[in-house]
Symmetry: C2
Amino acid sequence: MGTGSVVALSGGIGGVKLALGFQGICAPGALTVVVNTGDDFEHLGLAISPDVDTTLYTLAGLANPQLGWGRDGETWNFMAELERLGGESWFRLGDKDLAVHVERTRRLAKGEPLSEIIGDFARRLGLAARVLPMSNDPVRTIVETAAGTLSFQHYFVRERCEPAVATIRFEGAPDARATPAALQALERQDLAAIVICPSNPYLSVDPILAIPGWRSALQSSGAPVIAVSPLIGGEAVKGPTAKIMRELKLEVSPLTVARHYAGIIGGFVLDEADAALASRLDVPVHVAPTLMRTRADKERLAREVLDFASALHGRSIRPHGGSGRGES
Amino acid sequence: MGTGSVVALSGGIGGVKLALGFQGICAPGALTVVVNTGDDFEHLGLAISPDVDTTLYTLAGLANPQLGWGRDGETWNFMAELERLGGESWFRLGDKDLAVHVERTRRLAKGEPLSEIIGDFARRLGLAARVLPMSNDPVRTIVETAAGTLSFQHYFVRERCEPAVATIRFEGAPDARATPAALQALERQDLAAIVICPSNPYLSVDPILAIPGWRSALQSSGAPVIAVSPLIGGEAVKGPTAKIMRELKLEVSPLTVARHYAGIIGGFVLDEADAALASRLDVPVHVAPTLMRTRADKERLAREVLDFASALHGRSIRPHGGSGRGES
């Protein structure tokens, strides 16, 4: 297809939509999706990687279209029996979904790196894309809230994002190494773009950027780093991005997000609804419809991002170690 | 119901039928079922206790009537997905069944004794009986066969009992302690009988008897110890008992089983088909129909065992430390 290769950084459902678009337009093996694992946790003795699994299921065409997480045609017999036995039931694990958790836990316990396990799952599920966790080392997103310190899933699922967020931190990130196979994808000669998908910047992308190896690799890459706005007209399509920005006393605007990525991105994709803001960004901007409902929407946006990257690439390769600013 | 209390020693499906009969005729809390855990193993990172679970499911009315193991109305979505991911599939784990394995594994990892976990499961499943593992310490049944050394489930499930058995041993048994709560059931003033259910003597009952604390507790109990023959007319109702006896060069006869329990039992229940053997046993014998198809069959046999125990009890309480022989 001649698009070159793409590295997409993503969290869960929001970002994965664009990753699915890239999978649709990239040659097999040309797309590497690097997924947030700050949401990972151990639950019921099982190693759970929610964003990784949402990515695998979505790219394999196996995702639950109603829930935004978990498997299609899911059944819940395990959960019903677990409740009967007095087990914890606030985090729903479907019968099909359990297979990845049990098998991942078993293989991790044997000492296999998470990236090998996930890479193998991706192959077995027939994915054209490579899916890799941001790190094989544990990084845990911790949310300081009005209701106290909460681990990510307790905040996100059990408390339904209701407690006001004061600060967010990423335990383990300073010492975590970026996944070697993912860093290698950044070294490819045909690398056309590094894309920060429209995931929650504070909960889903920041865990990746909190890993020193990722931040420096993005800053030193020869390919354009492009972020796609997760906000449309001052609201997130899904999830608590806008709510968290208000709680963090941030202006709920794509401008805030673009500034958040300053020093890393070389281009920013704004939604049409926010076109008027374009002149206020200090990186090159592309305006596009960013709402992705259909598969065609996703692939069209992916193509626009690649065309934008190509234009930036032609215009000015960002120097190694450069700030990525001052190009607009 | 005035039957007094009963302690039943049992393996899986064969013995549990009689335990179900006892549960039907005993007052709530009067029946304690002590279950073989030599079959236990770790599989897919989960702690699996096949005989304990068969006991729980059967006594709760939740057992799969077709399979002889596992849950009623079971679904297999986990297993299908696990196979897709390349996981091991020779040991079938149903979606409902998984709940006990995941929750048991989680609680064991927290340091809870197996007996507390199983006792809690039994209460939550609404059982009138108490169900306890023979030990909280690991005991593992190992089968030396013509095809090499096999752990129990590899022999029983994966190899379908096909390799000829040379010897059977119980790793960990010499150092294992009998479950304290189960030993307490033997101390009850109203204890009417200790019953060795018609389970496989070599695979299901011997692991219990291989624990020094059980052997001595049975030998010193004031209540009659009665074994019910697992053989009818030279064949086992279900399972590999007769096959294993042939492979171990033993005569396939209830006489062999009764002799196997010598020093422990004070009475033996023979099937009607084997009534002619009664005079050749050197313990008191009761002849009864031992085939248990219906619930009524099970409760009738349970009543006959208790009546037999009562008669023995009235005739001669076995002295503490006595051999249990010489009473017929």
